[in-house]
């Protein structure tokens, strides 16, 4: 299923400068794996080496943070908007 993904500025250079890209997948995990597969420059910035969600990014389906849904198993449906933003934190 085609899915639109909104990218944060820090990842756009890896996607030819685009703010939004189209990829596919039925779950957030599939969407993110396909995204990194299409844009290898994002490797290590979205998913960790073991395939889990990187702790320095937040991923949303529409208005909801996937960490409060089913994480990478969160189902993505037609018309859903996936957004990636950096986790902003410090000391």
């Amino acid at each position: 299923m085609p899915v639109e993904v909104r990218l944060p500025t820090v990842l756009r250079s890896a996607a030819g400068g685009n703010a939004t890209v189209s990829t596919s997948g039925a779950t957030i995990g599939e969407v993110l794996r396909n995204l990194v597969g299409a844009y290898p420059g994002m490797s290590g910035q979205v998913l960790t080496e073991d395939g889990s969600l990187h702790r320095f990014v937040n991923v949303y389906v529409n208005d909801d943070d996937v960490r409060y849904l089913q994480q990478l198993d969160t189902v993505v449906g037609e018309g859903d908007e996936v957004s990636i933003l950096p986790a902003v934190a410090g000391g």
């Binding site: 500025t9 820090v10 320095f56 949303y60 933003l85 986790a87 902003v88 410090g90 000391g91």
Partner: protein, 135 residues
Amino acid sequence: MLLLPCGLYTDIVAHCLGGFPDEGCGLLAGNVAGGQVVACYPTQNMAASARLYAVDPKAHLQADRDAEARGIEIMGVFHSHTHTDAYPSPTDVAQAPDPDWHYVLVSLRDTHPVVRSYRIVQEHVVEEPIVLQAR
């Protein structure tokens, strides 16, 4: 250089004072390349700590959408240090999310707030001047 309207400077400091003694935080939006701040989005500190801050992810998404609708973009973050200088901590440097962003620090250690701005690129910290604007 960070071009900061006085009203937003006041909003930033007021939000940080409102969160005291915990750290306060929020996002800045505007023209990232020109360093022009146009909007400030104070957010809850999800860490609720005097030593750490974490911008509320949901508020971040709302701010990002609002900025996009206004033709601007998230260009930085501000947060307070309630016990130390207005200088990025090792944690701030290690977790700086975007080399294009501007990082505003507000120290509330002393009676008078101290506000400074930095660029953080590949864990290298460089202070930049803040230019206050009348509007």
